[in-house]
């Protein structure tokens, strides 16, 4: 990307380049990095989306549960407030995982260079 001046490459040249990168991409350490990332990001994304839309569904379709008084406020308010803490916790857990991913990718780059 650093060089904006790109000449169109022939298919053969592209394939030759692709092979070089393919080798890196097929290294077990890189494949492990991708699986590790996917193993975190996919469930984390599903979790936060389900948690968020659960709030909208409960507020929209289960008004009695939403109105239920818990302590000074009601269920709907607490659940909405919990979304903030959920977001912060997911973010914090991700940062911890991402620090591991950083180490993995640094190791791959060192070796590759």
């Amino acid at each position: 990307m650093s060089d904006p001046e790109k000449k169109p490459l022939s298919d053969a040249e592209l394939d030759a380049q692709a092979q070089v990168w393919e080798k890196v991409a097929h290294r077990p350490e890189f494949e492990k990095l991708l699986t590790d990332k996917a193993r975190f990001i996919v469930p984390a994304s599903i979790f936060f989306l389900v948690y968020y839309f659960a709030l909208i569904v409960i507020v929209g379709y289960f008004p009695d549960l939403a109105k239920k008084k818990i302590g000074p406020a009601n269920f709907a308010y607490w659940f909405a407030l919990s979304q903030f803490f959920m977001s912060w916790i997911v973010a914090w857990v991700y940062v911890r995982a991402a620090n591991r991913f950083d180490k993995q990718s640094a190791a791959i780059l060192d070796e590759h260079a």
């Binding site: 990307m1 001046e5 692709a18 890196v24 994304s45 936060f48 009601n74 903030f84 912060w88």
Partner: protein, 529 residues
Amino acid sequence: MPSTLPLLLAEAAPVKQSPAALIMFLAFVAATLLITWWSARKSSGASAYFAAGRRITGWQNGLAVAGDYMSAASFLGIAGMIATSGYDGFMYSVGFLVAYLTVLLVVAEPLRNLGKYTMADVLAYRLRERPVRAMASLSTLCVSVFYMIAQMVGAGVLVKELLPGIGFNTAVIGVGALMIVYVVFGGMLATTWVQIIKAVLLMSGSLFLSILVMKEFGFSFTQFFDSISAIKQTKDGQETIVNFLTPGMKFKDPLDQISLGLALVLGTAGLPHILIRFYTVPDAKTARVSVIWAMIIIGLFYIMTTFFGFGAAALLPQEAVAANPNMSAPLLAKTLAGDIFFAFISAVAFATILAVVAGLTISASTSFAHDFFTNVIHHGKEHRPGEEVRVARITAFVVGAASIAIAILLGPSINVAFLVGLAFAVAASANLPVILMSVFWKRFTTTGAICGLGVGLVSSIVFILIGPTGMKENPIFPLQNPGIASIPLGLLAAWIGSLVTREHSAEAKFPEMKVRAHTGHGAEEAEPH
């Protein structure tokens, strides 16, 4: 900000005030102009102008992202909506923070690793550059201009209310001229610092306001919640007790809420003015850190809407809020702490508008100069050194002038709030699907990207036009927010467009892109000191 926000439709309620507001406005303007002058002296070259030399630190960028994101509609609009519609207003607050998980988990880091200045850089990495850049640039300009016109009209209405001596047109021209000056002369560095200062001002104002509200309730949450659960209201001459914590005061159709939720959670990660902020930091790790900072600030801010939103409902007279919901936060400040604090909150609102419109202007002009002018028209070559930056400065001026003209033409009474909903819908339906597919799906093709961007853009606009916003009576599409229909359509178009075509070069470049996206190998580096 989604379509139902009442920010921009309000009729002005005359507010008497001291010259303190004007003095604080001028102090803020003077400070930002000083920053612009300093930035202009410091920066030269494209990476300095478009990306602040990629030397912004994590916490600075976090504050700037927050400052770029929290619009006047967030501050005054949500406060007003909670003050009139209670819990339903708070639902917006929730969506605005949760949306950042999409930014954090899937978009920020690959974007930083693969791109240079714009969202389109990521698409152009392995697809055919000219068509995808042209289309992505169109989508960026649409999102930015829709959003900007909404902000400008809102700014005009607001300044007119905060500083009663100044008319709508004068206010729009003033705001527009300032944002043009920041962006044309100061580039991304000045924009960043305007956003940082605004974020600090907004957070301190909100915190102080929240503390003042809780003081009224003896710092007892029980008293606070008891009081907002039973607010006396007069409706049709009859006095009733309303529980402001009960959902459903505003939103009647849950499907509309789901549609809005989708647009928020997926749209934020496709807003060009937010995405380009990640190019201002040295690397992907710092981009990640900056999202965390942004999430802390944005989260705290939206939690505080509880206090000054519900607080306004409990502490202000019902008529005062109903007369102009958007003035609830400033009015609350005035009631609780007098004229000087009112002036401060007004200046905060003004700073808020300026920081957001500056961010929008620079995202539009960067995309036009970098994607369209340099790469589509000139095949990626600069004919003269510094040409790209010069084109961006001219574009910033043109985009700014056009927004001023359109905002004045539409006038203060027009309902432009739907434009913000439209911006989020386009970002979610057109931009995000193609960004994700280009990073994660090998078989993605140029045709797929064009179809996804085109269908996402057009369907968002069409569903708004044939929905309740565009057709007052018997709308063909029943929902305010097009997301629930336009997002799947955008995705489907990108997917089918890719399946019916085969692009050898896109597939051949996939392994390279994958390695770079996930390791940061060969990513754009920060300028040396």
